[in-house]
Symmetry: C2
Subunit: 460 residues, 2 copies
């Protein structure tokens, strides 16, 4: 319980102006993009690593749970309090401390917006590849905590690959620095990579050292439509056979295309299109010109019906329009979305789509799918109207069948969004009791009392 | 102590033919490339994951220490027993289980030789980038345990980047599977990356799922000589300014060039050469042609004296000759080599060479340096004749000054070789007491009794 003594102590640490307690705000800080969660008892906005450390210490001493929060754009409830307590919003730690062109790295505070960092490094000819869909709102600290991906992960990898080092506050208040500005470091266990993707359950990230790349000078975009999903997936295989690694390789199914057409009032693809691929290659001018020709040939070999190539930025934006309009359009199908990010080995994407077809029949629900075909990471959106008799139960069943199915296909129940509390009941479908026990014991190494972000990742 | 009961039990598990106890062999299995260590009490050669598990369980029950061993090519003593006990040599687990062209991955047992895997995947047009110098003898399991690098790590990253999943035996005998064949996976903590680089202290790796890339169809090689190290380093900066990321970017200093000349009896570079850069770019034909021109221009801008470009494979091999002859040549300088692999942020390589110049003066020892300039990862070889009065002490002092210096430059005391027992006394120069304590508590999660590979990583 949040006592008035703790409250006074927290106000002393961060200053009265940086404590939030009005009920509407507590509610807002108690949810994320999934729109589920419970209100915080109090929100504090520390202004420095030292203040984060003091806040953690104070909460620990009072045995009050506390939850670190970034942009609040997560889809699994990672930043949401479940048992009241204190939300530590890191929004004031939002500076780009350094962009080091010579060493190709950036040092940032956790609440730098991902898109802002990208723009800043691109202005000096550099490149930060991870591009979660939420990049205009999501922040680097949250991206690190969840190991965010995005379309470019196929070629460039997820957030994990770009984190060289972290400053983080342990639940008990000590500040650690993991990794370094050196691109290699094998001194002791890799705490950096242990913290990446740990969903704010092991430590509170207060500073991030990120590796950057030179910005690819050229990009080429191609859109291909197919009669069905199998054709689109065959094209992906064909591309890999041609040994092309596109920067992005997005697949969009027929239910998604219908949804966008309804939302925008404009057909996005020729009649009879069963699936669409959006492909981008990037790199040096010459290489890009060479590769896009190979992409064109590969998609045609796989039976593409219509192939469009963007010849300028406006055309490129037009080709991407369907992808951009997709998420908002889904709201027209049903008010609730079970937004999953399952992943299978790339070659098994056709089997994943077969599974989804079966779930559609069994659940009698719309399940529009799109995602990162190159990674085998497909966003499976189970759309439900909670007002419809039995629909929530059928969605729930479909979800569990989906999870079982991807594990049977040697995949994973989450490729990008993390477990949070939404998927915590299901990790035993993928991990053995021994593995879960190991992870829980690692959790206790960092957080003996279980006060940092409780109720996440682990069931029960 | 190894009791006869345990010995009988181990013979039962692996079969008498797979137990080694002749003194010469025990000695051999008790050392690595560093030529330091103590003899094992017994070596066992399990033939399956199940046998590894049973061996671990038996040792654990008897409270006898045990050490997993791969190719024995390490430079920090990671695979060497310090307190007797059992060496578990994984040499019989040496199969390439699967090369999956569709999903761009390989599944291998730990004792597949790195170079053999590379050759096997290259035969089908694929590519496994990590290329430690020992790749003709070192094995994947050891590469994973130490997070091996190599020249290509500059563009392609170290072993870490290629490990998608592991099967491993916990010290207490349970078998875990981490990660998966999917290229993304954010379910629970990243035990895969925690095990990579853990130097065989957390679990025994019995199977590895590796990510592969398409094999770059073209490569171009260029060698440039400079009046001094600063010139060579300036060329690296110039290259990055030209936004070129070569596959390899090796630097070789004057003491190394002298050593190779003495060893081969042939001058490797024009008189007065103070440093050499070996640069390779790879990728699609057109991109490579474009990039090597940029490399050529960049090294000339930085003041290169002689620039040679290979126009065929024979010329390429000739340009690399100096690098190949380097390690054997150092033996002529002095019998003992303190072979370090310190790493600093790339832009600080000149300061690292300044530091080495000071150490040469102070220690009056030869300290030939070469390595991966792009990564800031330089092999600093402190050469000592133990017969020379006071030389070992001076080498020891130089080593400690080197470690302190790289940490002050925001670098790390080891970028590739790991800590093993050789550098264990020095990790506190880089890690705080809180960080070391965290790591030791993580160790105890996996190995409560401290029986797996004791005496490694942590001091004391």
């Amino acid at each position: 319980m949040l006592t008035s003594a703790l409250r006074v102590e927290l106000e002393r640490i961060v200053g009265q102006d940086h404590v939030i307690d009005d009920p509407a705000a507590l509610q807002r800080y108690g949810t994320d993009a999934m729109n589920r969660g419970t209100a915080a008892d109090l929100v504090v906005l520390p202004g420095s690593t030292g203040e984060v450390s003091q806040v953690a210490r104070a909460c620990y001493a009072a045995k009050v749970p506390f939850v670190p929060r970034g942009g609040g754009t997560g889809y699994s409830g990672g930043a949401v309090p479940l048992r009241g307590g204190v939300v530590i919003s890191l929004e004031r730690l939002n500076r780009i401390i350094e962009i080091d062109e010579e060493n190709l790295l950036a040092v940032v505070e956790p609440s730098v917006v991902t898109g802002d960092l990208q723009a800043a490094v691109e202005r000096v000819g550099l490149f930060y590849p991870p591009d979660p869909a939420s990049l205009r709102q999501s922040v680097i600290g949250g991206n690190v905590a969840e190991c965010a991906g995005g379309p470019r992960a196929f070629k460039y990898g997820t957030t994990k690959r770009y984190v060289l080092g972290l400053e983080a506050v342990l639940p008990t208040g000590e500040v650690i620095e993991t990794g370094s500005k050196a691109v290699k470091n094998v001194v002791g266990y890799d705490l950096t990579q242990l913290l990446v993707g740990s969903e704010g359950t092991l430590a509170i990230i207060t500073r991030v050292i990120l590796r950057l790349l030179p910005r690819p000078p050229a990009v080429a975009t191609l859109r291909a439509t197919f009669a069905d999903i199998d054709g689109a997936v065959a094209a992906v295989t064909e591309l890999l056979r041609a040994r092309v690694i596109p920067a992005t390789l997005e697949i969009i199914d027929a239910e998604c295309l219908e949804s966008v057409a309804r939302y925008t009032g404009a057909e996005m693809a020729p009649a009879g299109t069963g699936a669409m691929l959006l492909v981008e290659v990037d790199g040096l001018e010459q290489a890009v010109s060479e590769e896009i020709i190979r992409v064109d040939a590969a998609v045609r070999t796989a039976g593409a019906r219509e192939v469009l190539r963007a010849s300028n930025e406006a055309e490129r934006q037009e080709l991407w329009r369907v992808r951009r309009e997709l998420s908002p359009s889904l709201k027209l199908i049903a008010p609730v979305k079970f937004n999953h990010d399952v992943v299978v080995p790339r070659g098994r994407v056709p089997q994943l789509f077969d599974l989804v077809a079966r779930l559609r029949r069994e659940s009698r629900l719309k399940i529009p799918c799109f995602g990162h075909a190159g990674d085998g990471n497909i966003h499976v959106n189970i759309m439900v109207d909670p007002g419809e008799e039995g629909a929530m139960d059928r969605a729930q069943e479909a979800q569990v069948s989906l999870f079982r199915g991807v594990v049977a296909l040697e995949g994973s129940i989450s490729g990008e969004h993390g477990i949070g509390f939404a998927k915590a009941p299901y990790i035993a479908l993928e991990l053995s009791p021994v593995e879960i026990d190991l992870m829980q014991r690692v959790k206790r190494v960092f957080d003996p009392e279980g006060l940092l972000n409780p109720g996440k990742i682990f069931p029960g």
